[in-house]
C-alpha cells in the first residue's frame, strides 16, 4: 500500500510503510493512502496510527496543522493526451490508442478519489507510449518499408 504525506507545504510520496517510518515524520504529519476519505494526521490514520502511540514521542508542535492541508487535493497524474493523440495519428500504433483509453481510466479514477489507482493507470499510459515510440521506427522500416 502506497502512502503520500504532506510536509513543509509540499506533497510527497508515494512511500511504502517502512520507508515512511524512516522519514522522521511525527503524529501530526498529514498522510493519505487509498481507502482514506481525506488527509489525516499520521497518529489518527488507521494504518499509521500504531506507529505513533499517544504520548510516546514528545510533541514539539502542539497546535494542529492548518485545516486547508487536509482538504487539499492530490495532484492529477498525467494523462499524456497530447502524445497519445499525436502518436495514434502519426505512428498508427494500437498501443497509442490503448494509451488514450488508459488515460481516460486514470482521469476517471482520479475523479472518484482513487488516487493510487489513477497513478497506476498513468504509469501504464506512460509505458504504452514508450512501447509506441520504441517500436514505431522498426515497424515502419521493416514492416512498412519505404515508398520509392
Amino acid at each position: 500500500m502506497k502512502i503520500w504525506i504532506h510536509r513543509n507545504g509540499v506533497q510527497e510520496g508515494p512511500y511504502d510503510l517502512p520507508d515512511l517510518l524512516n522519514l522522521g515524520i511525527n503524529a501530526t504529519t498529514p498522510v493519505w493512502y487509498q481507502g482514506l476519505a481525506q488527509w489525516m494526521p499520521a497518529g489518527v490514520a488507521p494504518m499509521t496510527a500504531p506507529f505513533f502511540p499517544p504520548g510516546a514521542a514528545p510533541q514539539p508542535q502542539p497546535q494542529p496543522q492548518p485545516q486547508q492541508v487536509f482538504v487539499q487535493q492530490m495532484r492529477r497524474p498525467s494523462t499524456y493526451m497530447a502524445w497519445s493523440i499525436l502518436l495514434t495519428i502519426l505512428c498508427c500504433s494500437p498501443f497509442a490508442i490503448a494509451a488514450i483509453i488508459t488515460g481516460a481510466v486514470s482521469a476517471s479514477r482520479y475523479n472518484t478519489g482513487d488516487y493510487s489507482g489513477a497513478q497506476t493507470m498513468s504509469d501504464i499510459t506512460a509505458w504504452l507510449l514508450i512501447i509506441t515510440i520504441v517500436l514505431s521506427p522498426f515497424t515502419m522500416f521493416f514492416l512498412g518499408g519505404l515508398w520509392f
Binding site: 495519428i89 498508427c92 504509469d123
Partner: protein
Amino acid sequence: MVLADAHRLLRILTVVAAVGIIAVVVYLATHNPESAPALRCPFKALTGYDCPGCGSQRAIHALFCGDFAASWRFNAALLPALTLALIYIVVPSRHAAVLYRPGFIYAVAIAIVAWWILRNLLSI
C-alpha cells in the same frame, strides 16, 4: 518503483520522438511523398486497409503547398487531431477541466476508431 521510472524514461523518449517527427515534417516541406521516398504505414502494408493516420504525409505536404482541400482529402482527421494535441499542450489544465473529463477522453478514442472504420468503408 520500476513503474514510477516510466515517466522519466518517457520524457527522454518524447524528446527523441519530437526530433524524429520534426525531421520528417521538415523533409515533407520540400518533398512530395507521392514521388519522393517516404515512410510507409506498417498497418496498410500488412492488411491493405487504411489506418487512422494513413495519408498524413501527403496531407502535411499539401499543407506546406497551401492546399487545404487536398490536405483534407488525403487525411481529414490530421488537422483536427493536431489541433486537439496542440490544445492539450498549450492550455493549462486548470483552465480546461473538460479536456480531462473521462467522457471527453473516451469520446476522442471513439472518434478515432470510428474514423478508422468509416474511411475504409467509404474509401475516404
